[in-house]
Symmetry: C2
Subunit: 199 residues, 2 copies
C-alpha cells in the first residue's frame, strides 16, 4: 500500500515554518507519512487580507512574545535560533531554487539549510551570495541551479503554489494539508496533521 501523503506548505519568511522544517522529517518517517514540501509566498495572501506586513510586525505585543515562544521551542528541539536583523525577508529567490532542488533530490536539505541560515545564523536569504554558499555546501552546481531557478516553469510553480494556497483559504504558514482536504495551521499542529494523514 502506498504511504499516505501530506503537503507541507511553507514560506521561508515564516519563522514557525523554520521550526516545522527542523521537525517534520523524523516525525513523518515515524508516522509512515510521505511529505511533499511546497514553498509558497505569504505576502500576496496577507495583502489580500488587508495586511501589508507580517502580523508580528503589525501587532508588536504579539511579535515580542513570538520571539520568546520560538526561542523556547527551538531550545526544546535543540536547534539554534537568533532573531534575524531583517524580518520578514524576501523568499522569492530561495523558493525558486528550492523548487529546482525538490525536483532534483536536494530540495529538503536545501530548505533546512536556508531556514537555518536565516533564523540561526542571521544571514540574509534574499542575497544570491548566501544562497550560493548554501548550494556549495550541499555540493550542488551553483550556476546551473540559479539558471534553472530562472526558468519560466519554476517561476510558474511558485505562482501556482501561492494561488492554490490562497484558494484553499490559507492565512499563515506553515500549513499542512491532507489528501482528504483537511487544513492544519501552525508548527504546533504538525503532529495532529500527521495523525490525520494516517487515518
Amino acid at each position: 500500500m502506498p504511504k499516505p501523503v501530506m503537503d507541507f506548505w511553507f514560506d521561508f519568511a515564516s519563522v514557525y515554518s523554520f521550526l516545522a522544517s527542523m521537525r517534520i522529517a523524523p516525525l513523518a518517517e515515524a508516522a509512515g507519512v510521505s511529505v511533499r514540501w511546497r514553498p509558497f509566498l505569504l505576502g500576496p495572501i496577507f495583502a489580500a487580507q488587508g495586511m501589508q506586513d507580517s502580523p508580528f510586525n503589525l501587532f508588536p505585543t504579539k511579535g515580542k512574545h513570538m520571539i520568546r515562544d520560538v526561542q523556547r521551542n527551538a531550545d526544546e528541539i535543540g536547534v539554534g535560533f537568533q532573531w534575524p536583523s531583517v524580518f520578514p525577508q524576501s523568499a522569492v529567490l530561495a523558493s525558486r531554487v528550492a523548487l529546482v532542488g525538490l525536483k532534483e533530490g536536494w530540495g529538503e536539505d536545501f530548505c533546512r539549510a536556508v531556514f537555518h541560515a536565516e533564523y540561526a545564523e542571521n544571514r540574509i536569504i534574499s542575497e544570491q551570495a548566501v544562497i550560493g554558499d548554501i548550494l556549495t555546501k550541499l555540493k550542488v552546481p551553483v550556476d546551473a541551479a540559479f539558471a534553472s531557478a530562472q526558468a519560466d516553469e519554476i517561476k510558474a510553480v511558485l505562482r501556482e503554489n501561492t494561488a492554490e494556497a490562497q484558494k484553499l483559504g490559507f492565512f499563515g504558514a506553515p500549513t499542512f494539508t491532507t489528501a482528504d482536504g483537511e487544513l492544519f495551521w501552525g508548527n504546533d499542529r504538525l503532529e495532529q496533521a500527521l495523525r490525520w494523514a494516517k487515518k
Copy 2:
C-alpha cells in the same frame, strides 16, 4: 516542598480557553503543578491593540479555520463542541460569579460548566438564568452567589486581573504565566507551560 504554581488566565469569551479549561486539571495534577484560575476580560486588551471585535470575526478566513481546528481538538480530547449562535459573548457576569466560586471552592467546576454551556450546549452565558441554572446544578445557593458577585471587592478583582494582563503584555487567551515571569499563549502551549513551571 510546596508545589510550583502556574496562573491560568482565561476569558469565557475565548474558545481556546474552553479547550484549556477541559484539559488543565488532570495535566496539572500529573505534572505536580498547582494552578490558579484567573478570569480576565480580553475586550479592553484587544481594544488597546486597535481591535473592536474578536480577531476571529475580524479575519474571517482565520475564523473559519478556527472552528474546524477547535472541532478537531475537541474530538481528540472527547469533549462536545458546537459553535455558539452568539460569538463572542460577554463574560462579565460569569467572571464575577467565577471569582466568588474560586474563593469558596466551587469555582473550577463552575468555570468548566460555563465553558461547556457556551461551547457545547449553545447557551448564552451572559444571561443570568443560564448562570443560575449552572449554580443550581452545582448545588450553590444562587441568590447568595449573585449577591456576592456584585460586591465591589469582586468587581475590583476582575478589573485588576484585566489590568495586570494588559500590563504583562497579553494579547489573547488562554495565557499561562509562571512564577519566574514566563508567559505562554494558547491552549497548545499548556503542556510546555507546565513543564516550565516544574523546572
